[in-house]
């Protein structure tokens, strides 16, 4: 009797895991990674992913913040550089204009 119960339990477990696996509810790690990279929003709605290792978060907030502030300063400094170039071009044109007027003096 015990042997029958053990065999039935084993069969039920295999069947249950097989059914879940066939429906795709448990995906392999590589399949989950591929789905997550393809469409993170859809992946989040369709897949529950386990945290692996001591890291609790995959998205590094500190790095994103550094990139945001660094990028903002790069844009501002880039614009200042552009303003400097425009000013220098004005100076060059003014200088060329003065020389040209001098050379055409009667």
């Amino acid at each position: 009797m015990k042997r029958w119960l053990l065999a039935l339990s084993l069969f039920a477990c295999v069947g249950a895991f097989g059914a879940v696996g066939a429906n795709g509810a448990v995906g392999s790690a590589s399949a989950q990674d591929a789905a997550a990279e393809e469409d993170p929003q859809a992946s989040r709605a369709a897949t529950f992913r386990a945290v692996s290792g001591p890291q609790a978060e995959r998205v590094p907030g500190g790095l994103l913040t550094v990139i945001a502030y660094g990028g903002a300063w790069v844009l501002v400094l880039g614009y200042l550089w552009r303003l400097g170039r425009m000013h220098a071009q004005n100076e060059r044109e003014l200088s060329a204009l003065k020389k040209s007027l001098e050379s055409n003096a009667p």
Partner: protein, 246 residues
């Protein structure tokens, strides 16, 4: 326009920069230093989002700088079409450039925050989409004006673009209320607001961005006015048959 005579041209003094311009630059730098201290040392880390929430302090004031720049561009464009004075054209160009600079900061920092908060860099939310659309309009303004010396037709067309882009600022502002979307609304009175300890950092950043926006507009207008004056002298010289090489 009175043309500088050859004998007096070499002694023309360089235009003086106002001491106020230097003072504003110094105050703006100081405000940014204080802002960074307040953002990273004083303001608390947000419970849900952690460090990435600190992007908020540069994102929101930059959006305000974007509104200021583009509004001045539209005002300059309107007054240029009315008065046909180059000084209003200079304001329109400066406003479009400064507004687009701040829009670039907004469109850079927003997705970086969204990556953490939403899981994606970009969402076709009404406010984000309308901001991108407006940036494209003012971007086309700048593209049009970047084709060398602008004639009257280009200036008028650019002024019209600046005016066309202006109503979209209201679309950006009210799109969240009208079509909801997923953009945060913590400062609109609809959400729970921000923690009181976060307020000083935000106010200081607003002041710093205001100083930067005014300083950049001032500098850009000066450069544009000088360029307009040089072009006018060149045209006058060419008309009188002087300085053909320039």
């Amino acid at each position: 326009m009175a043309l500088t005579t050859p004998s007096s041209a070499p002694s023309t003094p360089a235009p003086r920069v106002s001491p106020l311009w230097h003072a504003l630059a110094a105050i703006t730098v100081a405000l940014f230093l204080v802002s960074f201290y307040l953002v990273f040392e004083v303001a608390p880390v947000e419970e849900q989002m952690g460090l990435v929430q600190k992007i908020f302090y540069v994102h929101v004031p930059s959006a305000y700088g974007m509104y200021v720049g583009w509004t001045l561009s539209a005002v300059g464009g309107l007054l240029f079409l009315w008065k046909r004075s180059d000084r209003w054209d200079a304001l329109s160009v400066a406003g479009a450039e400064v507004g687009t600079l701040f829009a670039a900061i907004v469109l850079l920092t927003g997705p970086l925050w969204g990556r953490k908060a939403w899981g994606v860099y970009w969402a076709w939310d009404p406010r984000i989409t309308s901001t991108l659309l407006t940036a494209m309009i003012y971007g086309s303004f700048l593209a049009l004006r970047s084709f060398g010396a602008a004639g009257q037709a280009e200036k008028r067309f650019a002024a019209a673009l600046a005016i066309v882009g202006f109503p979209l600022l209201f679309l950006i502002k009210y799109s969240v209320q009208r079509w909801s979307g997923q953009h945060p609304v913590v400062l609109t009175g609809q959400g729970g607001g921000i923690h009181p300890d976060m307020v000083p950092a935000l106010i200081c950043f607003f002041l710093a961005v205001t100083g930067l926006a005014i300083w950049l507009l001032w500098t850009r207008i000066r450069i544009e006015r000088h360029r307009q004056e040089i072009l006018a002298i060149e045209l006058e010289a060419a008309r009188r048959g002087l300085g053909g090489e320039s």
